[in-house]
């Protein structure tokens, strides 16, 4: 598969979304929690609490929607500031109860619009980056589809980042990159190659820790082993004192592009 094939696969509407993963992993134990307590409830972000085996977990996902109606309602997974603020509210809550945080990332990017700018899209992402870095509770991010730039990293300042084999993570969309580089967005496949955005590329660059085989909807065995893997990671990180964990998390990012 070429890099652009991966992009196409990551964007496929047939793909499992955050809600699918949450249902498969948490089942009946999941309780959705709503709202940022300031402005509203952004449906592009689905969040709540539930049990993963015997571990209470806060789970937050960027949700694209599973059919046309849902996709409209979820704004195709493009969150507004209130979505990122809802996520932060629940992450702070998780820290309070020393509950690990699991995030699912699947978005073309943070929404670009008048309301989003008026309500501080830049500020909401910046605040998440700063606060997540210092959270004294474990965070794990799993990229299940598209990882579009600032809108993706706003939920991915984690102890570990895992990617499905057909997920992508990029600073800019291949189309956007091609139109800047060659003034021709149809050269997106070439741009996708240059950007090094596949799970394999990111693993080689030391930006992610693990590449996962992608489950299908009824692949219970696969979900069971994914659950086990997540639980083991949480157990390991729950044993580390919060301050120490935050320091390790900072160093994880600190080493990327370190000059000395």
């Amino acid at each position: 598969m070429s890099a652009y094939d991966k992009v196409t696969a990551a964007r496929s509407t047939k793909k499992l979304t955050s809600v699918d993963y949450i249902n498969a992993l948490f089942g009946e134990s999941f309780i959705e929690l709503h709202g940022d307590r300031c402005y509203g409830d952004d449906k592009a972000v689905v969040a709540g609490v539930g049990m993963l085996n015997n571990i209470p977990v806060t789970v937050i996902g960027l949700e694209k929607g599973r059919n046309t109606f849902e996709r409209m309602e979820r704004n195709f997974g493009a969150a507004h500031p209130e979505g990122y603020r809802k996520a932060l509210r629940l992450m702070k809550q998780a820290e309070k109860f020393h509950r690990p945080i699991l995030t699912f990332v699947d978005t073309s990017g943070a929404f670009c619009g008048i309301g989003a700018e008026e309500r501080g899209q830049g500020h909401s992402i910046a605040t998440n980056l700063m606060e997540m870095m210092a959270l004294k509770t474990p965070i794990l991010s799993v990229f299940i589809g598209e990882g579009g730039s600032g809108g993706a990293i706003a939920l991915a300042v984690a102890d570990e980042v895992w990617m499905m084999e057909n997920a992508v993570y990029s600073v800019i969309s291949p189309e956007g990159c091609a139109s800047i580089l060659w003034k021709d967005s149809s050269k997106a496949p070439d741009a996708a190659e240059c950007l090094k955005l596949t799970a394999k590329d990111l693993f080689d660059l030391g930006v992610i820790e693990r590449i996962l085989r992608e489950p299908t909807a009824d692949d219970h065995k696969m979900f069971e082993s994914l659950k086990l893997l997540i639980c083991r990671t949480f157990e390991k990180n729950l044993a580390i004192p919060g301050d120490e964990l935050a320091r390790i998390r900072y160093n994880r990012f600190r080493k990327i592009g370190k000059q000395d």
């Binding site: 943070a110 670009c112 619009g113 008048i114 989003a116 700018e117 008026e118 309500r119 501080g120 899209q121 830049g122 500020h123 992402i125 910046a126 605040t127 980056l129 700063m130 606060e131 870095m133 210092a134 730039s149 600032g150 990293i153 706003a154 300042v157 993570y169 990029s170 600073v171 800019i172 990159c177 800047i180 580089l181 240059c194 950007l195 090094k196 955005l197 590329d201 990111l202 660059l205 930006v207 998390r249 900072y250 990012f253 600190r254 990327i256 592009g257 370190k258 000059q259």
Partner: protein, 286 residues
């Protein structure tokens, strides 16, 4: 201190139409046209007025060194990490050429300079981004220099002042540029948790990944008049929503009205304002 008590700068040209006839011997290269009001201004007069148009108050863009010269006490700036240079890490097309060209054009090695200086006698760390180097885009070296400046400020218990100007994360370094958003934010957080003061000065234009990281993380966020400050630039938004944007959308004044900027400060009062803020936070002269 405020625009309400605005004093006319001393060298204001009372009638721009006269300037050509009154000073006929000045060669062309010594004139600059204000992009906002079209007035022809003497370069020396602009310089003296901190590169603000004396007719309409338009703030001309400054490069990173001009910024530092404007803010730091004379001969007090000591640059850190000045030899750090970007490399084409992911082998991105045309990036080597682009870097070479930017270095020549700007006479700088990266899109940011960092260091320490005295501001009205008060010791501070200063970070100044440069629109002349790849439009102030943030690559790994930019991110690393800024991170190190914050770490140094934290260690030395110094305040930090950051002048932002940026087109966002640098696509030529792919995901590694994006990671700098998290890295710089982590360094800001540690500085903040140590109880130290961080002042941001947003200048024209500040957009993308810089807006969505350290630019919006200051304890106090100042901005220059009319500066464009955005997450997504106006062109991107117009393409996404296919409608015209309101007038003054994403200006410094607009962000202040929406609650994201503490104060819009005329450049000619900026040093005074910064010094005042440092003093209020108990940073004193040696």
């Amino acid at each position: 201190m405020d625009l309400f008590t605005f004093i006319k700068p001393k060298n204001e040209l009372e009638n721009s139409d006269d300037t050509d006839t009154k000073k006929p011997y000045v060669p062309d290269e010594m004139w600059e046209k204000c992009p906002e009001c079209g007035t022809l201004l003497l370069t020396t007069d602009i310089e003296e007025n901190l590169r603000v148009c004396s007719k309409c108050n338009h703030h001309f863009r400054l490069n990173a060194r001009q910024r530092v010269d404007m803010i730091a006490d004379k001969d007090t700036f000591v640059e850190m990490d000045k030899d750090f240079e970007s490399a084409n890490i992911i082998d991105f097309p045309f990036y080597d050429e682009k870097l070479e060209k930017s270095k020549k054009q700007s006479n700088e090695k990266e899109s940011v300079i960092c260091g320490t200086c005295k501001l009205g006698g008060i010791e501070t760390v200063i970070v100044s981004m440069n629109s002349e180097f790849m439009m102030g885009s943030m690559g790994t070296v930019t991110g690393d220099k800024i991170t190190r400046a914050f770490e140094y400020a934290t260690e030395q218990r110094l305040p930090i002042i950051v002048f932002t100007v940026s087109g966002g994360a640098r696509m030529q370094e792919g995901i590694l540029s994006l990671m700098q958003m998290a890295k710089t934010s982590g360094a800001v957080k540690m500085h903040s948790d140590a109880g130290l003061l961080y002042i941001t000065v947003l200048t024209d234009p500040t957009t993308g990944g810089v807006t969505a990281s350290f630019a919006m993380e200051g304890d106090i966020i100042l901005a220059e008049p009319k500066a464009l400050i955005a997450f997504a630039g106006p062109r991107v938004i117009e393409q996404t929503i296919r409608q015209k944007l309101p007038k003054d959308f994403q200006t410094a004044e607009f962000l202040k009205q929406k609650g994201f900027v503490d104060k819009v400060v005329d450049r000619r009062y900026l040093k005074e304002t910064l010094k005042h803020l440092l003093k209020i936070h108990n940073y004193g002269e040696d």
